[in-house]
C-alpha cells in the first residue's frame, strides 16, 4: 500500500449530455462490465478509481462520472476544481447529443482550471445502423476545439475503451505545470510538510 502514496493522482472528468454513455464507458473501462439493459441516469456525480500506466509510469486516475441531466447543473462548479482533464462524450447515433457538444465545451471553458486538457469521444460506435454523426465530423470538432485527441468507442464491444484514457493521461503528463498545480490542489502527495493542507489518508 505504501507505494500508493507516491503515485501521482490525476483527476479526470466525464461530461456530456444525458444518455451519451459516460457511465457505460467508465464501468466497462474500470470494471469490465456492460449491461445493455441499463438506462439508469447518474445522480449528481459518481466516483471511480483506476490505475493506469503510461510510458512505464503508474498513475492513479480519479474518474468523476458526472450526470448529464440538466437539473444537476448546479453541481458542476463543485467538481471541476483541480481537474486535469475532461472527457466529453456524445452518442454517434444521436445527432442532438453531438450538436449539444458546443455547450459542453463552453462549460469546460468557464469552469476548468486553465490548461486542463479536453478529449472528445463518440460513444456507441457499434450502432452503425443508427449512426447520424460521421467520424470526420467528430474529428473536425475535436480539432476546432483544441482537444488533445478524439476517438470513437464501444462499451458494448470493448472497442477503443482504453484509448481515450491512455491518450488523455499521456497529454496531461506532458504538461508538468498542470500536473504539479493539480496534485498540489488535490492534496495528494506533499510529504515535505510545506503544504498546509496535506493529504489526509493518514488518519
Amino acid at each position: 500500500m505504501a507505494s500508493d502514496e507516491s503515485i501521482s493522482t490525476l483527476k479526470i472528468l466525464m461530461i456530456g449530455p444525458s444518455g451519451a454513455g459516460k457511465s457505460a464507458l467508465l464501468i466497462r473501462y474500470c470494471d469490465d462490465q456492460f449491461d445493455s439493459e441499463s438506462s439508469t441516469a447518474t445522480i449528481g456525480v459518481d466516483f471511480k478509481m483506476k490505475k493506469l500506466s503510461v510510458h512505464g509510469k503508474a498513475y492513479r486516475l480519479n474518474l468523476l462520472d458526472t450526470a448529464g441531466q440538466e437539473r444537476f447543473r448546479t453541481l458542476s462548479n463543485s467538481y471541476y476544481r483541480g481537474a486535469h482533464g475532461v472527457v466529453l462524450v456524445y452518442d454517434i447515433s444521436n445527432r442532438d447529443s453531438f450538436l449539444a457538444m458546443e455547450r459542453w465545451f463552453e462549460e469546460v471553458e468557464s469552469n476548468a482550471q486553465p490548461g486542463a486538457v479536453t478529449y472528445l469521444v463518440g460513444a456507441k460506435m457499434d450502432k452503425t445502423a443508427q449512426r447520424t454523426v460521421k467520424v470526420e465530423e467528430g474529428m473536425k470538432m475535436a480539432e476546432e476545439r483544441g482537444c488533445v485527441g478524439f476517438c470513437e468507442v464501444s462499451s458494448k464491444t470493448r472497442e477503443n475503451v482504453r484509448k481515450p484514457f491512455v491518450e488523455i493521461v499521456d497529454a496531461v503528463v506532458q504538461k508538468p505545470e498542470l500536473l504539479s498545480s493539480g496534485t498540489r490542489r488535490m492534496g495528494t502527495v506533499p510529504v515535505d510538510g510545506g503544504e498546509g493542507f496535506g493529504s489526509g489518508c493518514s488518519c
Binding site: M1, D65, S78, Y79, M186, G187, G196, G200, C201, C203
Partner: protein
C-alpha cells in the same frame, strides 16, 4: 488496491435501499444547493457591498446610538449617504488588502475541497449501478411519482413547546432550502439525517462545515434540532462501543506513531474523495464489527451492514474512531498539555463531567466539543461554575488558564466596583449618558485614582490571555479535540483569549476546526478587519454579545487602542454573518457576565443550554444583587478620600489573592499525598 476498492464498493450499496431514485436525486440536489449557499455566505464575508447592518432586528439598535469609531469623528454630522459611501470605500480598501484577499482565497479553497469530498462521497453512496438497475425495475411502477404526493405531516412536530422554540431558532439561523424530501414520512427523514451524519463521518472527520451542513439539512427537512443532537449522541456512543471490538493494539501503536508526524499539520481534509480513503483502509473490514455497530445503533432503522457501509473505514478501525475522538496525538486531558503549560503558566482543559485524572467515560463522550473560558476569578470554582449551564449535547470542558493572574484581576475588580469612588463615578457617568464619552477618557478624577488598583492586573491578565489564545490555537490545530468541531464560549478576558486564538487560527489558515463562537463583553477591537478574519475560521455562528452599559469594560480598556472600537461595548460592524446581540438591559456591568452565561446563551438561541442550570444561575444573581444593594447603602453615608481608599483596596486585594493561592497550594499538596 483493487480488493480494497471492491470492499468499499460493496458497502456503498445502501442509500439506494433506503431511498428511491427520485429521492436520491433530491438529496444530491439539496446538498448541492446548501453547500452553494454556505459558499456564498463565506464569500459574502469578504464582499464590500454586503453588510451586517441590513437585518431589521439589528437596525433598531444601530440607528443613532452608535459611536462612529470607524469613521473619523468629525464626520459625524455628514449625510447618511456620504457616510455610507465612505464606509463602503473604507471596506473596499480594507478588503482589497492583499492579506484579506489571500484569506478569502484560502478559506474558499478549503471550503471547495471539503465540498468536493462531500459531494463525491454522497455521489458514491447514491450511485450504484447494479443495485440501481434492480431497484429501479422493482419500484418503477410503484414510485413513479413519489414527489407529487402532498406533504404528509407538515405540522406534527409542533406539539411540544420546548422543541418548537429550538426549531424557530434553527430555521432562523439556517433558513431551510426547499426540497421535496420534507414531504417524506418523519421517520424516513430522520433516517436520512442519520445516514447523512454517518456519511459525513466516513470522511473521518467531523469538521465545522460538516456540522453546519447537517444543521442546514435538518432545517430543510423540517426536523427539530434535538433530533440531530440525539443522533449525534447515539452515534458517538455507538462508535466508541464498537471501537472496543475493533482492531488490535498493534495497529493502534502504528497509527499513533504515524499520527505523531502526520497530525502536526493535518488541518486539511481526508483526501480528495472519501472513497480514496476508504480504498486504502477498506480491506480491514470485519463483519463482526459491522455487527457491533448495527446492534448499538439499532432502532435507528439502518441495518448493521448499511450503517457500516455508510461509515466506511470508520466502521472498520477502532483507531480511526479513536482519532475522531482525539485519542492519539493530542487529547483534551492528559499529558500533551504539559508541553503547552511551559509557555503559559497554567493551561489545561477540565472536563465538566468526570475528573481530569481519568479518561472520560464513554457515555460522556460526544461528537462535539464545547470549551468555556472564564475571564476572571473571585474563587477558583469560577473556572467551571459559569459553564454548568451548558447542556449535555456536547462534551463540555472549562479552560483553566493563568489562575493567579485571573484571581488577582477578579479581586481587584470586585473591590473597585464596591468602592465609594466607583459608586460616585458611576452616577456621574450615567448622568452624562453619552456613551461616546466613555471612549473619550473623560473619566472622573476620583476613579482615576483607584485605577492603579486594577489597571495593572488587567493589563497583565490581558497579555496572558493573548498568549493563552495562541496556545489554545496550537492545541486545536494539533487536534487535541480529535476530529470534532469545537465551540468556544468566553466572557471578558476569556473572550479576549478566544479572539487571540481565532486570529491565530486565521493566520495559520486552520479552517473548519471551530464550529461556533460566543464572545461576551470582549476587550478586543470591534474593527471589521478583525472580525472578518475571525469569521473565516468559524463555520457556524459567531456571536458578539455586548452591553452599552458596561462602564467597567470601557474603563479597563480605556488605555488600549480604542480607535478600533471595543467589541464588548458595541456592534462589530459591517461584516455579514456576525450576530451582534445587545444585552445592555441584562448586563449592568462587566462583573455580571459570569452569572449570566446561561441566560445570555438562552437568549441568543444557543443550542445546548441546560435550562435548570440557567434558573439556578439567575437565583444566584438575584441574591448577589440584593447583597450589593445593601453594601451600597452602607457606603452611601460616609465619603472617603479616594487616595486612602485605593491604598486600602490594594491591601485587600493582596490579602484575598494570597488567600486563594494559599488555598490552592494547600490543595495541591494534599493531592500530592
Amino acid at each position: 488496491m483493487a480488493s480494497g476498492k471492491d470492499t468499499a464498493r460493496e458497502h456503498e450499496q445502501d442509500l439506494s435501499t433506503i431511498l428511491s431514485t427520485e429521492e436520491r436525486v433530491e438529496l444530491t440536489l439539496l446538498i448541492a444547493n446548501i453547500t452553494e449557499l454556505m459558499r456564498k455566505q463565506i464569500a459574502d464575508t469578504f464582499d464590500a457591498s454586503v453588510t451586517s447592518a441590513k437585518k431589521p432586528q439589528q437596525a433598531l439598535h444601530i440607528t443613532d446610538k452608535n459611536p462612529n469609531v470607524d469613521v473619523n469623528k468629525t464626520h459625524e454630522e455628514s449625510e447618511e449617504e456620504e457616510k455610507a459611501r465612505k464606509l463602503r470605500e473604507k471596506r473596499e480598501k480594507e478588503l482589497s488588502a492583499p492579506k484579506m484577499l489571500e484569506l478569502r482565497k484560502d478559506s474558499l479553497d478549503f471550503f471547495d475541497k471539503w465540498r468536493e469530498s462531500v459531494i463525491s462521497r454522497v455521489g458514491t453512496a447514491v450511485n450504484n449501478s447494479k443495485e440501481t438497475v434492480q431497484e429501479q425495475k422493482e419500484t418503477a411502477s410503484v414510485d413513479a411519482t413519489p414527489n407529487s404526493a402532498p406533504p404528509a405531516e407538515p405540522k406534527v412536530i409542533r406539539s411540544n413547546t420546548n422543541i418548537e422554540e429550538a426549531d424557530a431558532a434553527l430555521i432562523e439561523l439556517y433558513p431551510p432550502t426547499s426540497t421535496a424530501l420534507y414531504s417524506l414520512q418523519k421517520d424516513k427523514r430522520i433516517l436520512l439525517l442519520h445516514s447523512m451524519l454517518l456519511l459525513l463521518l466516513s470522511l473521518e472527520h467531523y469538521i465545522g462545515h460538516s456540522r453546519v451542513l447537517l444543521l442546514h439539512i435538518s432545517s430543510s427537512l423540517h426536523l427539530p434540532l434535538h433530533v440531530l443532537t440525539e443522533q449525534e449522541i447515539k452515534v458517538a456512543q455507538g462508535l466508541l462501543e464498537a471501537a472496543k471490538h475493533m482492531s488490535g493494539s498493534e495497529e493502534t501503536q502504528k497509527r499513533s506513531d504515524e499520527n505523531k508526524v502526520a497530525r502536526r499539520w493535518k488541518v486539511g481534509l481526508a483526501g480528495v474523495a472519501g472513497a480514496t480513503v476508504i480504498g486504502v483502509t477498506g480491506g480491514l473490514a470485519a463483519p463482526l464489527v459491522a455487527g457491533a455497530i448495527g446492534t448499538i445503533m439499532g432502532g435507528l432503522g439502518l441495518g448493521a451492514t448499511t450503517a457500516a457501509g455508510l461509515l466506511g473505514a470508520l466502521a472498520e478501525s477502532g483507531v480511526i474512531v479513536g482519532s475522531l475522538f482525539g485519542a492519539y496525538g493530542g487529547r483534551m486531558t492528559g499529558k500533551m498539555m504539559d508541553a503547552y503549560a511551559k509557555e503559559v503558566e497554567d493551561f489545561g482543559f477540565l472536563p465538566l463531567k468526570g475528573s481530569k485524572h481519568r479518561e472520560p467515560l464513554p457515555e460522556d463522550r460526544r461528537l462535539r466539543v464545547t470549551i468555556g473560558i472564564s475571564g476572571w476569578l473571585t474563587q477558583k470554582e469560577d473556572i467551571i461554575t459559569p459553564w454548568r449551564a451548558l447542556g449535555k449535547e456536547s462534551e463540555v470542558f472549562a479552560l483553566r488558564w493563568e489562575l493567579e493572574a485571573l484571581t488577582k484581576l477578579g479581586s481587584s475588580l470586585e473591590s473597585v466596583v464596591k468602592s465609594a469612588a466607583w459608586t460616585v463615578a458611576k452616577k456621574e457617568i450615567i448622568a452624562r449618558t453619552i456613551f461616546a464619552s466613555l471612549m473619550d477618557a473623560l473619566w472622573p478624577i476620583a476613579l482615576l485614582k483607584v485605577s492603579k488598583v486594577v489597571d495593572n492586573p488587567f493589563s497583565v491578565a490581558k497579555n496572558r490571555a493573548d498568549k493563552a489564545g495562541l496556545v489554545l490555537a496550537d492545541a486545536l490545530i494539533n487536534k487535541a479535540q480529535g476530529e470534532r468541531p469545537v465551540t468556544l464560549i468566553g466572557y471578558s478576558l476569556g473572550a479576549r483569549l478566544i479572539y487571540s486564538c481565532l486570529m491565530s487560527l486565521a493566520e495559520r489558515r486552520a479552517f473548519g476546526l471551530v464550529e461556533s463562537v460566543v464572545l461576551m463583553g470582549t476587550p478586543a477591537p470591534s474593527d471589521a478587519a478583525v472580525w472578518r478574519a475571525m469569521r473565516s475560521v468559524v463555520s457556524g455562528r459567531l456571536v458578539n454579545v455586548y452591553s452599552e452599559n458596561d462602564y467597567i469594560l470601557a474603563f479597563l480598556y480605556r488605555t488600549s487602542a480604542i480607535q478600533f472600537g471595543v467589541a464588548g461595548l458595541q456592534e462589530a460592524q459591517d461584516v455579514p454573518g456576525i450576530e451582534n446581540i445587545d444585552v445592555s438591559e441584562m448586563v449592568s456591568g462587566h462583573l455580571r457576565y459570569q452569572y449570566l452565561v446561561g441566560s445570555i446563551l438562552e437568549k441568543i438561541g444557543f443550542e445546548d443550554v441546560d435550562v435548570e442550570e440557567v434558573a439556578r444561575e439567575e437565583e444566584t444573581l438575584a441574591l448577589l444583587e440584593k447583597e450589593e444593594e445593601k453594601e451600597q447603602e452602607k457606603k452611601q453615608g460616609d465619603s472617603v478620600d479616594p487616595e486612602k481608599e485605593a491604598a486600602e483596596m490594594e491591601k485587600d486585594v493582596k490579602k484575598q489573592t494570597d488567600q486563594t493561592l494559599m488555598q490552592r497550594a494547600a490543595e495541591t499538596l494534599h493531592l500530592g499525598k
